[in-house]
């Protein structure tokens, strides 16, 4: 029984480490306070709850936010305003925004 629990623990740990390794590059260098400051630019348009016209992003997965911003930055997603915003963000700024918005209540 102990052996099974141990194996289960190892498996979960590996999964978390693997996931962490995957996540790390996009969220590397994240700075919560900087994210809070940078978020001022986002909340001119994005509201905390309403999706009318512009999606709400509070509480979204950090990786999801970072990936989306990278796609806008590389012009692989369409929307001129978002492409413009993302083009002016470096990787650390994107990571900072991602962890900050993730921390907010939906």
């Amino acid at each position: 029984m102990v052996n099974i629990i141990f194996k289960f623990f190892i498996a979960i740990s590996c999964l978390l480490i693997f996931r962490g390794l995957l996540a790390e590059p996009l969220l590397d260098g994240a700075d919560f306070d900087y994210g809070e400051y940078l978020s001022g630019q986002c909340v001119t348009c994005h509201q905390s709850s309403s999706d009318e016209g512009i999606p709400a992003i509070n509480g979204a997965e950090a990786l999801y936010i970072a990936e989306k911003l990278m796609l806008y930055k590389n012009k692989e997603l369409e929307n001129e305003v978002m492409q413009l915003v993302a083009s002016a963000l470096d990787k650390e700024q994107i990571a900072s925004l991602a962890i900050y918005f993730n921390s907010l209540e939906k």
Partner: protein, 422 residues
């Protein structure tokens, strides 16, 4: 007491007492004090961010005469019948209730920058450690011969939102069949560069439905304007033959206006209007002039912080500032407010100060579900705010995209007003 009756003596004594009692609005704390003058896109945002982010460490007072703020942005959509008037009105109650901002409904009359005090219309004074001026624009009534404060009921400028936009809407709705609406846009620089042309679109939208033989003549003191190709293509598509835009080189200059005869005289011709919207030249709100932080009509600022070049304790936001490449827009003022708020908190509470980051997008509505936009990112150069990158809608982008752009603008309106007032 011979010549002074008992009654007038008592009145005089009471008045003296109240004058003595009035001088200072004390907020009763040793916290650093920030006073914000003007509760629009710059001022309301700055007050909210400084109070919210300092978590009570800074005492914030907002001086704003109006109890209800009617946004200039989207006032054209009210004019065109796309929004009702109440939907562009906002209260300051949440700034007090949610963030502890001390909201004082009064006029700021003068600034004593050496004593760091603002004098209010009531006679009271408010002390500050840092002062944020976001007074918007004043109209230069004497910039057009024949125009005046009195003329604005006959030929409303309607450039500060509020009741004048209501007056203009009523005039357009009651215009004689087949009549002429004349628009005189302002010369550069002015609040909301695409605004006059969105206004023309909204008037055309009403007339197409209610008065389709009416005409619109635009007598412009400029030879080009913001989003010109997009607007002109839109007018031709939705309102063919209705709008005639005459540039300055063609009419040769606006000589005068006559509110009694409803005439606008140029070198080329005299235009007679049934309804006229005349928007004169503009300058920074009077309090910026009074504070001694202007150079000419506007207030030069330090790009990295929005501090005025004249006085490091005074910040000027939005329309009143010389923000160089940034247009005078609500979005710009909101963006600048966050840079200033971050800097002020850093100065007063040693919180971290991050590099200035500015952005702007201006959405305009040309017709039902036909939205267009122009936007840019900016950075703080040593002397000026500089463009980093920009975009503008395309003339051939299709109806679905235009509808989406309009819907996006509704999201933005809700977003920015939440960012100012929640």
């Amino acid at each position: 007491m011979n010549n002074l009756s008992r009654r007038s003596f008592v009145s005089f004594a009471l008045a003296s007492t109240s004058l003595l009692a009035m001088p200072a609005i004390s907020t009763g704390s040793a916290r650093p004090k920030v006073v914000v003058v003007g509760g629009g896109a710059g001022g309301a945002t700055a007050a909210r961010y400084i109070a919210k982010d300092s978590k009570g460490a800074i005492d914030v007072t907002l001086i704003e005469a109006s109890k209800h703020y009617y946004t200039c942005f989207y006032s054209n959509l009210y004019l065109g019948g796309f929004r009702d008037y109440d939907s562009i009105g906002h209260s300051y109650d949440n700034l007090s209730a949610n963030h502890g901002v001390n909201v004082v409904h009064d006029w700021a009359i003068s600034v004593d920058s050496s004593a760091r005090k603002v004098r209010l219309g009531s006679g009271a004074t408010v002390s500050y450690d840092r002062l944020v001026l976001s007074p918007g624009i004043d109209i230069k009534y004497d910039s057009i011969d024949g125009y005046s404060v009195e003329a604005q009921t006959k030929m409303p400028h309607a450039w500060k939102s509020g009741t004048q936009v209501k007056v203009l809407r009523d005039q357009v709705l009651n215009m004689p069949k087949g009549g002429t609406f004349a628009m005189v846009p302002p010369p550069n620089p002015y609040r909301c560069p695409p605004g006059p042309y969105e206004r023309i679109s909204m008037v055309a939208h009403i007339l197409k439905e209610k008065n389709p033989t009416a005409k619109i003549v635009v007598i412009d003191p400029k030879n080009k304007f913001s989003k010109q190709g997009l607007f002109m293509a839109g007018w031709e598509k939705h309102y063919p033959g209705m709008v005639e835009w005459i540039d300055n080189d063609t009419h040769g200059g606006i000589k005068n206006v006559n509110p009694e005869t409803m005439e606008i005289e140029t070198d080329l011709d005299t235009f007679k209007a049934d309804v006229a919207c005349v928007v004169p030249a503009q300058r920074a709100g009077a309090i910026a002039m009074n504070a001694g932080v202007t150079d000419g009509d506007w207030s030069p600022i330090v790009p990295a912080s929005m501090q005025t070049k004249a006085d490091g304790n005074i910040y000027v936001l939005g329309d009143a500032s010389v923000a160089s490449a940034m247009p005078k827009s609500g979005f710009s003022a909101n963006s600048q407010a966050k840079v200033a708020a971050n800097h002020i908190r850093g100065e007063l509470t040693d919180s971290r100060v991050f590099p200035a980051k500015f952005s702007n997008t201006c959405w305009s509505l040309v017709a039902t579900n036909d939205g267009i936009k122009v936007g840019a990112n900016y950075k703080a150069g040593d002397e000026k705010i500089e463009v980093v990158d920009k975009f503008v809608s395309k003339t051939d982008e299709g109806n679905a995209k235009r509808k989406k752009t309009y819907e996006e603008s509704i999201g933005w309106y809700n977003g920015i007003t939440t960012d100012m007032f929640s």
